[in-house]
Amino acid sequence: MDETQVLAKFRDVFADVMDIDDPEIGMESTAKDFEEWDSLSNIRLVVAVERAFGTRFSNADIEGFSCVGDLVRALVARAG
């Protein structure tokens, strides 16, 4: 999967977790852009992403993500 495909799949997961229809989310998006994206829903988001992409992040990985793009690039790298 390339970045576009991963981002599209991430957007679906994000919509379900945050309970937002068609969220406007891009590589530069951060938690500040969404009222619903708080520390608690972020935990649910990470677990949902791990499940959807069949992978598992370490706490160090998660602390290193500063925007959606970081997460997407990490997922692309893991998908190989």
């Binding site: 977790v17 309970d19 608690l40 706490n59």
Partner: protein, 638 residues
């Protein structure tokens, strides 16, 4: 999220969530119309994952003012948790809908459980909370690290328990019923299998803590939530997620939250009398394999020797085990009556016999109609029924016609039926009273009584022929569990539908201004057990009747007149002049709207919400002759 069909994490006894669930939630939440209880319970009746539960809970928040509770019972619950609970509270609230409750939650700040329960002037004390879920974690109880020294292990367990005792004491002082959660046993080991023999291993300490916690709950009238068993059901390897704990103090895997929350909700529902009372069974391919009308007695599959035969036998064993603890059994089947009864009478391997079935309806009517008839015959609501049927079309039809009936999904393999029925939690209990044990016998005796009436004809002669003995007594420790159960279960013959916990009942006993009454009835057909409860409060020359309820099993037996006689004589002895009664309407208690009028009370005005107030001048009351012998310390019998 997709789980294999029998994975408990996926709540497989519920229908899968519809694809457009979020849109449905949004549609209900938008606009300004009232939100009907059945729309909410319809949504929550599906197997929802954590995101979906969260979105339903959001609807409860946003639409709270527009919700018409209907038959949902409101409950204010505090969540006192070691670790993060903010994601658990919404899941409990959404799951509560599935078990008849409209829950509001109050979550203690992180790490503040003990302080909130015990500190004078804490926010919890002022929150109006009725119950508090106290869920500990082995890591914060100090049971996560092993002790080589047995004495140190004992100290650790005793210390953890002392913390729980302090919380229970603080809650009791605030009149909040504690719901104590057992602690899931840690997955990690220390010395392998030897952990089970070493008192200082975390596994052994947590196991010992749980045993003592159950004792504490029993001694203090608290509810016990067996979270350890839920975790064991899932498997500790999947239950715990150390990464989540380290990152956010999330106590267990997010995938397990829906199952955990449903178990919390079913327990709270059972405590509020929402558990199901009657198991309605289909016959063909449910109680036996094959179709009795086509295959005949020799052709149906039942009993040892075939896998399906053993599976159906296990369904029957489950039904009998439920009956043994007070669940009533009924049969609803599309069959000729004679053919349907044949296996019960003649099949050597049948565990169930006709005498086990309180209502047996085998005919060609619509099943929903028959199921409604079962409820009428037993004098219980359709929301007290659970219907088990192998046929998906029949299940769908009953869900559509009678959405209040619990209808578990079952997979094709009958071996899995018992797990789905019992796993659903709709039969969960919070106490087992002597009356539960006698209930099946009572319903059978009721059937005999109606035959007796047909034979005798005149109603007064009939009542006299019953040889009734009525015992009227003050509340006591022996009756307390059943008193609390009646207070929380009775809906129809219940003047005010006020619910009290066992702890509150105990408190009422001790109050000098309270006149409390428990009533038992025996007749020549059997012991109907405790069937009526009254709580009245003296205030100057008036006695206000706070609670008056009666089991519908003894309707028309003039028990209410015996109760009134006790009240009148008690009030006169205390120097009172008047009895004041109230009828507060609920969705189910229309049958007692004219209760006080029938007993000779005079109207004394309206109460907000459509209720009525009634007064009886004690000087006016003339005691009628009753067709029963009276006894007990509040019978005032000569």
């Amino acid at each position: 999220m997709h789980f294999p069909t029998t994975d408990p994490l996926g709540l497989p006894w519920l229908l899968p969530a519809p694809d457009d669930l979020r849109a449905q939630v949004r549609a209900l939440g938008g606009g300004t119309d009232a939100i009907a209880a059945h729309a909410l319970t319809g949504l929550a009746g599906h197997a929802l994952d954590l995101d979906q539960l969260t979105s339903v809970a959001k609807l409860l928040d946003k639409g709270r003012a527009r919700i018409e509770p209907g038959t949902l019972t409101p409950l204010r619950l505090a969540v006192l948790m070691d670790g993060t609970a903010d994601h658990l509270a919404p899941a409990i609230r959404a799951s509560g809908l599935r078990h008849g409750l409209l829950i509001d939650t109050w979550v203690a700040p992180y790490g503040q459980a003990l302080a909130e329960a015990t500190r004078p002037g804490s926010d919890l004390g002022a929150s109006g909370v009725q119950m508090a879920l106290v869920a500990s974690d082995f890591r914060s109880l100090g049971l996560g690290r092993p002790h080589v020294d047995a004495g140190a292990a004992e100290d650790a367990v005793a210390g953890a328990l002392a913390r729980m005792e302090a919380i229970v004491g603080g809650l009791a002082a605030r009149k909040i019923t504690p719901v104590l959660a057992t602690v899931p046993v840690p997955a990690g080991g220390w010395m392998g299998s030897f952990d089970a023999l070493a008192p200082g291993s975390p596994a052994a300490m947590v196991t010992e803590f749980n045993v003592r916690l159950a004792g504490l709950a029993r001694d203090r009238g608290a509810l016990l939530f067996d979270a350890a068993r839920v975790a064991a059901l899932v498997g500790h390897g999947r239950w715990f997620d150390d990464g989540l704990w380290n990152r956010s103090k999330i106590p267990f895997a997010l995938d397990a939250v829906p199952l955990w929350a449903d178990h919390v909700a079913r327990l709270l529902g059972a405590a509020r009398g929402k558990a199901r009372k009657c198991l309605v069974l289909d016959l063909d391919n449910t109680l036996w394999g094959g179709i009795i009308g086509d295959d005949g007695l020799e052709g149906i599959k039942l009993g040892q020797g075939s896998s399906d035969g053993e599976a159906h036998l296990a369904v029957q064993a489950m039904a009998l085990d439920l009956k043994a603890r007070g669940v009533v059994l009924a049969v609803v089947s599309k069959n000729e009556d004679a053919a349907a009864r044949l296996p019960f009478q003649k099949h050597p391997e049948m565990l169930l016999r006709e005498a086990d079935i309180a209502v047996f309806l085998a005919n060609w009517n619509d099943k929903a109609t028959n199921i409604a008839h079962v409820a009428t015959t037993l004098n219980i609501g359709v929301d007290a029924l659970l219907f088990l049927d192998d046929n998906p079309a029949e299940r769908a039809r009953v869900r559509q016609m009678l959405p209040q009936v619990a209808v578990p999904e079952v997979p094709a393999d009958p071996s899995l039926y018992p797990m789905m029925v019992m796993g659903s939690g709709w039969f969960d209990a919070v106490a087992l009273s002597d009356d539960d044990l006698k209930r099946a016998e009572q319903y059978r005796a009721n059937a005999e009584r109606s035959v007796a009436l047909q034979q005798i004809g005149d109603y007064d002669d009939y009542l006299a022929s019953l040889d009734m003995a009525c015992e009227l007594s003050a509340f006591d420790g022996i009756g307390r569990a059943r008193i609390a159960q009646l207070i929380n279960k009775s809906n129809q013959f219940n003047l005010t539908t006020r619910r009290y916990t066992e702890a509150e009942v105990a408190a009422a006993e001790a109050e000098p201004q309270v006149f409390d009454l428990q009533v038992r009835l025996v007749d020549r057909f059997g012991d109907t057990g405790m069937i009526s409860v009254v709580i009245a409060r003296a205030s100057g020359e008036e006695w206000l009747i706070d609670t008056w309820l009666m089991s519908c099993r003894v309707l028309g037996r003039r028990v209410e007149e015996a109760v009134l006689a006790s009240l009148v004589q008690g009030a006169r002895a205390a120097g009172a002049k008047r009895l004041v009664g109230e009828w507060l309407p609920s969705p189910k208690n229309a049958m007692v709207e004219r209760h006080y009028e029938k007993l000779g009370f005079k109207p004394a005005g309206m109460i907000d919400g459509g209720g009525t107030r009634w007064v009886l001048d004690l000087a006016d009351h003339v005691q009628p002759k009753l067709p029963m012998a009276l006894s007990g310390d509040r019978s005032f019998a000569a």
